[in-house]
């Protein structure tokens, strides 16, 4: 019986986390422009319980909207660490995947999830609001099924992440 309630609490918690996702979009790159349309009346992401919040303490999702150079990576890591635990990271656009058009730049990092665990990527050189909404829905399913465990991975192999970060930030 006790096992079952533990399971039940977990599923209820996940359901709640799914239904009320608060996001902080750290407008690093050119993807930030995609978010106002998703928030406003045409696509209205608030239907799914998503709301934009200002401080890292209150947020659940960290959106990395575009290319991430070394300088902003340092700030993004601080924000990520300040967020409270069940936290998820969504990488916007191809620049977070493999450096995108800045593949040869000396400043832009090529792969987001080497430095902070990314739960979800949205391909496209700046995905349209529909893509963003579908990404969010996909994230909800991940949360529901419990697979969105980026923050656990970060905690588990913290040394690996820290090593990569030190290699880049110096």
């Amino acid at each position: 019986m006790e096992k079952m309630t533990e399971e039940q609490v977990k599923s209820i918690a996940n359901m709640l986390r799914k239904r009320s996702l608060w996001m902080i979009h750290y407008c690093t790159g050119c993807g930030a422009m995609e978010l106002p349309p998703t928030m406003t009346s045409r696509y209205d992401m608030e239907r799914f319980g998503l709301a934009p919040y200002v401080t890292s303490r209150q947020a659940d999702i960290l959106l990395i909207t575009g290319y991430l150079n070394v300088k902003t990576l340092r700030r993004v890591i601080t924000v990520y660490e300040q967020m409270l635990d069940p936290k998820y990271v969504i990488g916007f656009g191809s620049c977070t995947l493999n450096g995108g058009v800045y593949w040869d730049s000396y400043a832009v990092i090529k792969q987001l999830d080497r430095y902070i665990p990314a739960d979800l990527y949205i391909a496209g050189c700046m995905p349209r609001p529909e893509a963003v909404i579908s990404a969010f829905r996909h994230l909800m399913e991940l949360i529901d099924s419990g697979k969105a465990d980026g923050y656990k991975r970060y905690k588990r192999n913290l040394a690996y992440y820290k090593e990569n970060q030190r290699k880049v930030l110096g």
Partner: protein, 295 residues
């Protein structure tokens, strides 16, 4: 005695439910005004439950954690001083003036907690919150005095009884009612006066460092606060109802009109807000006070 304990448990829950319902309706209504579809009706419940069930919480010290707790304790206390549906619980042991001070415990708790979060945004937020409180307290006191003088008592349940069948204070003190309406905006920190938690300027003001269960507590406190302010307005001017449904309808009517103005007006700068409160509402309230004195 058992009845007393029963009331002691039911009243805060009822107040919380009413306050929460207003938050729900507000989110939906605001979305509708912005021609958006808006979240599910019970979105605030999900938000609060998610915050309370956060796995990891941070705290900057005992006072940081104590702040929200004192805020909630103060709000629960003030709930007991407002007569609901005919049963006036603690109005016997504390009158209107005591209520004004008890409502201050909530803001004191929040201010202490936010102060301890060692973040300048929080400090700026609190200094604005207290200045705004200083602003709207002047007209609030004047209308409270005019109502008390009109009914020759400061006992809230007596005031409610005096306005029993139909002749509300709204008809006899129209000017004070209008001022009361504007002051409730300031007291609730609703949109034109939400300079305190303006996300663009001071990153949600005092709540900048609050997250997880602390933020959940603060949202619960906001629900209580919503209930207390509107119930006070209804009791003072609309002759609070004998049973719960009429009470809720009256409160909803007031809140509905408030929401109408809410989304339309731009935000006040903090010293303009105080100047505004000390100019028009105060003058109008003084006029109605003089009318009461003369009558």
């Amino acid at each position: 005695m058992v009845k007393m304990i029963l009331i002691a448990i039911v009243a805060p829950l009822l107040a919380f439910a009413i306050g929460l319902s207003f938050m729900m309706i507000k989110r939906k209504f605001v979305a509708r005004i912005q021609r958006r579809y808006g979240p599910t009706i019970i979105q605030p419940i999900f938000d609060i439950m998610k915050l309370l069930l956060k796995e990891d919480n941070i705290s900057h010290g005992i006072i940081f954690s104590l702040g929200p707790i004192i805020a909630i304790a103060g709000s629960i206390l003030s709930v007991f001083f407002i007569p609901i549906a005919g049963l006036n619980m603690l109005t016997g042991s504390g009158d209107l003036i005591a209520l004004l001070y008890i409502m201050a415990i909530g803001s004191l708790g929040m201010a202490l907690g936010a102060g301890d979060s060692a973040n300048p945004n929080a400090s700026i937020g609190i200094s604005r919150a207290l200045t705004l409180m200083f602003g709207y307290d002047l007209p609030l006191v004047i209308i409270v005095i005019s109502v008390a003088l009109q009914y020759h008592t400061t006992d809230l349940s007596a005031i409610v009884a005096a306005q029993a069948n139909g002749h509300w204070a709204l008809w006899s003190l129209p000017l004070s009612a209008i001022v009361g309406f504007v002051v409730t905006y300031g007291a609730l920190g609703e949109h034109p006066f939400d300079i305190i938690t303006a996300p663009h300027e001071v990153a949600t003001g005092p709540m900048v460092e609050y997250g997880g269960k602390h933020l959940g507590f603060l949202m619960i406190n906001h629900a209580f606060h919503l209930y207390v302010e509107i119930a006070l307005f209804v009791d003072l001017f609309l002759g609070g109802a004998s049973n719960i449904f009429i009470f809720y309808i009256k409160m909803f009517a007031v809140f509905f009109i408030m929401m109408m103005f809410d989304e339309v007006l731009p935000r006040f700068k903090i010293d303009d807000a105080v100047r505004f409160f000390w100019k028009w509402p105060t003058v109008v309230a003084l006029i109605s006070l003089i009318i009461v004195l003369v009558k």
